[in-house]
């Protein structure tokens, strides 16, 4: 069981279909289209509804506006596609509380493993790639339950609700198991993710926050 290679992909259509292209992505089930993330250059953005699919990546960015009361799910989700030079929308990300086509959708983000694992893979969020701390304000400021990033595994089924709550992401204390068991063979794991900003959140920007995949091999 050598170390498996992993590929991160996203579906840039509003069509909820599986990634049949595995590590290569491309056209998937039900007219979905899977794009391979360039981990060194691409970034995940949660933005306001003024942002449009295909906007130039170096143009104006419209951040999420902190709500006067209650919570606000980031209206739109994009991948800052470095090589294409555009913001590529992820229409199925999030729930119906956003302003895209998210909800009880299953095939939004994928992580393709090209071999087995010795344990269940997990998705985590950290302050930085050093994985030393997970107390950034966006990750709850030390209270994992307050993390603004919330994810749900959809590997084996859709969330079951168009307004799924998800698991707050903050370090190893609050993370998402991406499957029900260790992988016995190559497989696509699926997830959805959203950002929820509460009223009273202090305006800020932090580009160092990182999502991390943790897994076992032998």
């Amino acid at each position: 069981m050598a170390q498996p290679n992993t590929t991160f992909l996203f579906n840039n259509t509003a069509n909820d279909g599986a990634n049949s292209g595995n590590a290569a992505g491309g056209a998937g089930g039900n007219d979905s289209n899977w794009v391979v993330l360039d981990l060194a250059n691409d970034r995940l953005f949660f933005l306001d509804d003024q942002q449009a699919d295909g906007d130039n990546r170096t143009g104006t960015l419209y951040p999420v506006i902190i709500p006067p009361s209650g919570d606000l799910e980031a209206p739109k989700t994009f991948i800052d596609d470095y090589s294409a030079g555009v913001l590529d929308q992820v229409p199925l990300a999030g729930t119906t509380a956003g302003e895209q086509s998210g909800g009880n959708t299953r095939y939004v983000f994928a992580i393709y493993f090209d071999g087995p694992t010795a344990g269940i893979p997990y998705l985590e969020a950290w302050n930085s790639a050093s994985h030393l701390a997970a107390d950034d304000a966006f990750l709850g400021g030390g209270t994992a339950a307050d993390s603004t990033l919330k994810a749900i595994a959809t590997t084996n089924a859709a969330p079951g609700s168009a307004t799924w709550a998800g698991t707050p992401l903050a370090g190893t204390g609050s993370r998402v198991s991406l499957d029900a068991a260790a992988l016995a063979a190559a497989k696509n794991l699926y997830l959805n993710i959203k950002q929820v900003i509460p009223a009273g959140f202090t305006p800020q920007e932090d580009a160092a926050i990182v999502l991390t995949l943790r897994y076992l091999y032998s």
């Binding site: 050598a2 087995p116 344990g119 990182v210 991390t212 897994y215 076992l216 032998s218």
Partner: protein
């Protein structure tokens, strides 16, 4: 004698099997002759010590790795050696500069969940420790 980060796997009879450096791409756990039960695992550590598990009913070994979506290669977070005795699993986790021992229920040995890759041991007087 094996080099640091190699693991020697001994059997009740026959020659031992020595893995490559377990931190590399394929640590070799699946490559050993599987028809022979394991008598002991010995992970050679950089400071000249060995982490030894012997006499358990079953053994597992795996690497905990992480891959940040910000790029770069996967990183080794920890090396794990496990020995099962009855309903419990003794886990030894080698992290950078630290070795952590723990006991967890069988099937809940890593983050509260099961692991794959268990191989039968040659039960005896179970022992584990750094020597």
């Amino acid at each position: 004698m094996p080099n640091p980060w190699q693991m020697r796997i001994t059997h009740p009879a026959g020659p031992p099997y020595v893995t490559p450096d377990v931190r590399l791409g394929d640590p070799g756990w699946q490559d050993r002759p599987r028809w022979r039960p394991i008598a002991s695992l010995e992970l050679y550590l950089p400071a000249g010590h060995r982490l030894v598990l012997s006499g358990f009913e079953a053994y597992n070994f795996f690497i905990e790795a992480s891959k940040p979506l910000s790029g770069g290669p996967a990183r080794t977070e920890a090396v794990w050696l496990c020995g099962r005795q009855g309903a419990n699993v003794e886990t030894w986790r080698v992290i950078e500069g630290r070795i952590v021992r723990d006991v967890q229920p069988w099937g809940r040995e890593w983050v509260g969940g099961p692991t794959r890759g268990w191989q039968p041991g040659a039960p005896g007087n179970a022992f584990s420790g750094v020597v």
